[in-house]
Amino acid sequence: MNDGSAESPILRARAINKTVPTAEGDLCILDDVDFEAAAGESVAVVGASGSGKTTMLGILAGLDLPSAGDVWLDGEEITALSEEQRARVRGRCIGFVFQTFQLIESLSALENVMLPSELRGDAAARDDALQFLTRVGLAERVTHYPRELSGGEQQRVAIARAFASRPKVLFADEPTGNLDTATGARVIDLLFDLNVESGATLVLVTHDAALADRCNRIVTLEAGRIAA
């Protein structure tokens, strides 16, 4: 389903609930959360540990399903899709940058960056990947494996991989959480620069207030609800 409106947000979630069963009964992680992000907008999601940030990110990105509510991404209701269909949407529209980099150890930097395009069956995967690795300053390290790269370098490979798939929405989960301050700052600069260049929507989950301040908008979660 596509509502076809030009003003409509690229990402929209309505009345999202997430409960998980525990030994003591159901535990509510997200409680009636609404969320919207316009095309090209950058939104920071902040909140204390356990406030539901990561769960919300997973649901918005189609990695997980809410217990109730619906999520629309690029005009498609992803909560109504099967895992098979959601995976295709992810491959087509979404990029990720994770706190723990999540590079595949057995693939070189170049192969890691090529992966999303290859999964889509793009013929030009290699050229695109080389271009983005050059853009993140790793043109000399393309044949290196993740374990041969520093944390900052690994995160730059992850950023190159995220943008190489030309996503409409980029989700970043604590992208500096595993990096020292100086390296983290350089990585964030790169992330924002590329985001502006690509025109993608950025949804950034972070603890870091300074980092959140660089986004267009801040959404605060408190105990599973959006704070006023």
Binding site: T54, T55, L57, G58, A61, L63, D64, E83, E84, A87, R88, R90, G91, R92, I94, F96, F98, Q99, Q102, L103, I104, E105, S106, L107, E111, L115, P116, E118, L119, R120, G121, R161, S165, D173
Partner: protein, 833 residues
């Protein structure tokens, strides 16, 4: 995922060492089955060709009448090789003088192509070293048995008279392939050319002559010939195949083949366990990998087909490598056993290769598929939340698939569903019993561990904490070690059995026809020149005339069990004795008192059973025209394989003491001592010496070959067992290391960790050893009594060796497998896990 990508991921995983264990397990499974298959295939070929040598041909048509020309024509049309053999008894004279020494000989006249299968063995001098020849006596020549030379005072080059023919002795005949029948029924052999037969004028109407047409060729043509001449065969012509030839070696070989396949199956099942462990570990290490792929857009189908693709690549590579390895191992065996095998072995059939390839894929599908298919269900949320359940394969699917695959292979190899079901029941039972025992050992270990030093306490605490995994591991290790112990013990049992049946110094010569007045002299000669120290058995021929007053024929008609075999009234060798012979065991009744005057008889138990005879029955005999009646006093079991003189019927002295008998016995003579026979026979020309050392040599060579094959299988099973150990240790070492890295971060020394890990593996190994010994003792006891018909025997050394082997082996493999990570800084270990 595209095939190229799958291939690249497989190559990457291979380079990263992720697939090596899986591949190694497949290679071992395929290699083992292929090597055993190829070897058994060729062994069977070799044995088949060896059995045909008992006939001297592939098939034989035999008769007391000349072979019709029609048969020959038919064989010729079908392209079969053929040659004629004529046998008849005749008197051989040392020369033509009237007082010349003479002896009844068994003449065999052969054509130029004789024998079609097997070889003739000849020597240059009587009882001299034998060699192989592909010639036959030329017309005008004869080849004689060694024993004829001293008996007739002859030498090679002399001329002898056979009927009207005068023939020159060209060589000494040592062995012919189709000697056949009972060696005791034959006179010494004279081999001559078939073209000389008419000149002898020995064959007259009514002569006892045997005609044989020897045939060789492919099975199809032979079957066609048989079909063509079938109507003309009965009742005068007999068609003989390999099955009719001497089948005594057959049983041992059947048993050996079952053993080889059983061993092969164990290796495959062990390799299957290694495949399962390797695949589970591979899958576990790919949960995050799959999570990442899914966030990047890989669909569950992409993941499923991608990993199936990787599995196919591994399977393909493993099968090809395994086939090559199996081929090489089999070549190695053939080379090692070249001395035993025929010079030109036929090429093996493609079946063993198919067997190996199918085994490899079945192994992979049954053991590796469930964990890899489960990767499809890994949630992409794992990428951001490690606590998300990975969606491992359901246990029912995992074990069900392994059971179906394993059983499928079992049924396929054994061709026996009933046996397979028993194996299933046994397998489940063993696993359950092992798990209970393992749990008891772990609980007990923890209690003891509370009092132990820190490394041991840490180790035992760790074992108890992860008791589920450890019970499973002890069970797996236990089964692997148990299988090795079983194989080792069975191998010993088999070898013991064969050695016991055929010891090095088993008698290999028989001396017969020793007259009463020669007994002392012959006994003295034997005692001086051989290891013989027994006594000579009196021997006399006689036949049963009636049982309890009823004529033997009518008794046999109503009491006989089983259709085949000699008749009750057949003439037999009889003896008498005051004592029970050494290798005989009384089954029923009592042995008679020494020197008894009562006419009593002792029956071999199977003979008694066959003719429905029992204690108290009265048997009337005709011995040399005189009637003798004796009452059955006992039955006894005879070891026919012992090569000692054995008798179905033994009388008490009271029955036969007064009859004039000849005497016989058996003794052992080494090849180099054989010239002694010249002296024995020239001093006692009327006695008969029969050499069975040739037959024994043949049996020995087969036993040797089978033994080597069994050792090979044992080696392969050991290899597969080691793989399971490595796989099992790898599968659990990450969890162990994470815990130990934490201990190190909290101040534990590297030495403490290394000690604790080694101790943990050693305890695990020792427990597995205990479990294995219990299982092995029980299994081997059952096998010994039910399959090999050997007695019960406990192995005390096993109770020490089993746990010790388990502890050392697993501690060593565990230590080597974890050393690198123990030595790396804890922060690295923690980060990597």
């Amino acid at each position: 995922m595209t095939p190229r990508m799958v291939l690249r991921l497989a190559v990457r995983d291979w380079r990263a060492g992720e697939l090596r264990l899986l591949l190694a397990a497949v290679v071992v499974a395929v290699g083992t089955v292929t090597a055993i298959g190829l070897f058994v295939d060729r062994l069977r070929e070799a044995l088949l060709s060896e059995s045909t040598t008992f006939l001297g041909a592939d098939r034989v048509i035999g008769s007391t009448r000349p072979i019709p020309e029609d048969f020959r024509d038919a064989a010729r049309r079908l392209g079969l090789a053929q040659t004629d053999v004529i046998t008849f008894p005749s008197m051989l004279f040392a020369d033509e003088s009237t007082d010349a020494r003479s002896q009844l000989v068994s003449v065999k006249a052969v054509g130029d192509r004789y024998p079609l299968r097997g070889v003739l063995r000849v020597a240059g001098e009587p009882f001299g070293p034998a060699g192989v020849t592909d010639a036959v006596p030329a017309p005008g020549e004869v080849w004689l048995d060694s024993r004829l030379f001293p008996a007739l005072d002859l030498a090679v080059g002399d001329t002898v008279a056979l009927g009207y023919a005068r023939l020159e002795i060209a060589r000494v005949l040592v062995g012919e392939p189709d000697r056949g029948g009972s060696v005791f029924d034959l006179g010494p052999r004279l081999l001559m050319h078939i073209d000389d037969v008419p000149e002898t004028r020995v064959i007259q109407p009514g002569s006892r002559v045997g005609y044989r047409l020897l045939l060789a060729g492919d099975d199809g043509s032979l079957a066609e010939l048989r079909a063509a001449i079938e109507p003309d065969l009965a009742p005068n012509y007999r068609w003989r195949g390999i099955a009719d030839a001497n089948p005594t070696i057959g049983e041992a070989l059947d048993r050996a083949e079952s053993f080889l396949l059983l061993g092969g199956l164990l290796a495959v099942l062990l390799a299957g366990v290694a495949v399962a462990l390797g695949a589970h570990r591979y899958a576990r290490r790919h949960y995050d990998h799959v999570g990442v792929l899914k966030t990047l857009g890989a669909t569950p189908s992409d993941v499923q087909w991608g990993y199936l693709g990787i599995l196919s690549v591994v399977g393909g590579a493993g099968v090809v490598t395994g086939l090559v390895l199996g081929g090489l191992v089999h070549q190695g065996i053939v080379a090692a056993l070249a001395a035993y095998l025929p010079a030109s072995l036929p090429l093996p059939s493609p079946r063993p290769l198919a067997l190996g390839a199918v085994t490899g894929f079945v192994c992979l599908l049954a053991f590796a598929l469930p964990p890899l298919l489960a990767l499809r269900g890994v949630s992409p949320m794992r990428v951001i939340r490690r606590d998300v359940h990975a969606g491992a394969a359901s246990q029912a699917f995992t074990y069900g698939s392994a059971a179906i695959g394993g059983l499928g292979l079992l049924v396929w190899y054994s061709g026996d569903v009933f046996l397979t079901l028993w194996a299933l029941v046994g397998g489940v039972g063993v696993c359950g019993a092992f798990a209970v025992l393992a749990l008891a050992l772990l609980r007990g270990g923890r209690v003891v561990g509370m009092q132990a030093g820190s490394a041991w306490r840490l180790a035992l605490a760790g074992l108890q904490r992860r008791y589920r995994e450890n019970v499973a591991q002890i069970t797996i290790f236990g089964i692997a070690i148990m299988l090795l112990l079983i194989l080792l013990l069975i191998r010993t049992a088999l070898l013991d059995e064969w050695r016991a049946q055929l010891p090095e110094d088993a008698p290999n010569h028989f001396v017969m026809n020793v007259a009463d007045d020669e007994v002392e002299a012959v006994q003295a000669l034997l005692a001086t020149h051989t290891d013989y120290d027994g006594h000579l058995f009196p021997m006399i021929r006689g036949r049963v005339m009636s049982v309890n007053g009823e004529a033997a024929e009518s008794w046999a008609e109503t009491h006989r069990r089983g259709p085949d075999g000699p008749r009750l009234r057949s003439e037999r060798n009889l003896t008498w004795s005051d004592t029970l012979p050494d290798n005989n065991v009384l089954v029923e009744g009592a042995w008679w008192p020494e020197g008894t005057d009562e006419a009593l008889i002792s029956l071999e138990d199977e003979y008694a059973a066959r003719f429905g005879l029992g204690i108290g029955d009265e048997l009337a005999f005709d011995i040399g025209g005189l009637p003798v009646t004796a009452r059955v006093a006992n039955t006894r079991r005879v070891e026919w394989d012992s090569l000692q003189p054995n008798f179905f019927l033994i009388f008490s002295g009271g029955a036969l003491r007064d009859f004039a008998t000849t005497h016989m016995t058996s003794f052992h003579l080494d090849a180099e001592a054989k010239p002694f026979l010249n002296r024995l026979l020239s001093e006692h020309p009327t006695i008969t010496v029969i050499e069975v050392d040739e037959i024994i040599r043949q049996v020995r060579s087969i036993v040797g070959r089978v033994t080597q094959a069994i050792e090979l299988v044992l080696g392969l099973v050991l290899g597969a067992g080691a793989l399971v150990l490595v796989a099992s240790i790898q599968a659990s070492h990450e969890a162990r290391l994470k815990e130990h890295a934490l201990v190190r971060a909290l101040g534990g020394t590297m030495r403490l960790i290394a000690g604790a890990l080694t101790a943990e593996f050693a305890v695990l190994g020792a427990f597995a050893g205990v479990v294995a010994v219990v299982g092995a003792e029980l299994t081997v006891t059952v096998l010994r009594s039910q399959v090999f018909e050997l007695g019960y025997e406990l192995h005390p050394w096993l109770w020490l060796a089993g746990p010790a082997i388990g502890a050392v082996l697993i501690a060593l493999i565990g230590y080597l497998g974890t050393r690198k990570l123990v030595e790396s800084p804890p922060v690295l270990v923690l980060r990597e896990l």
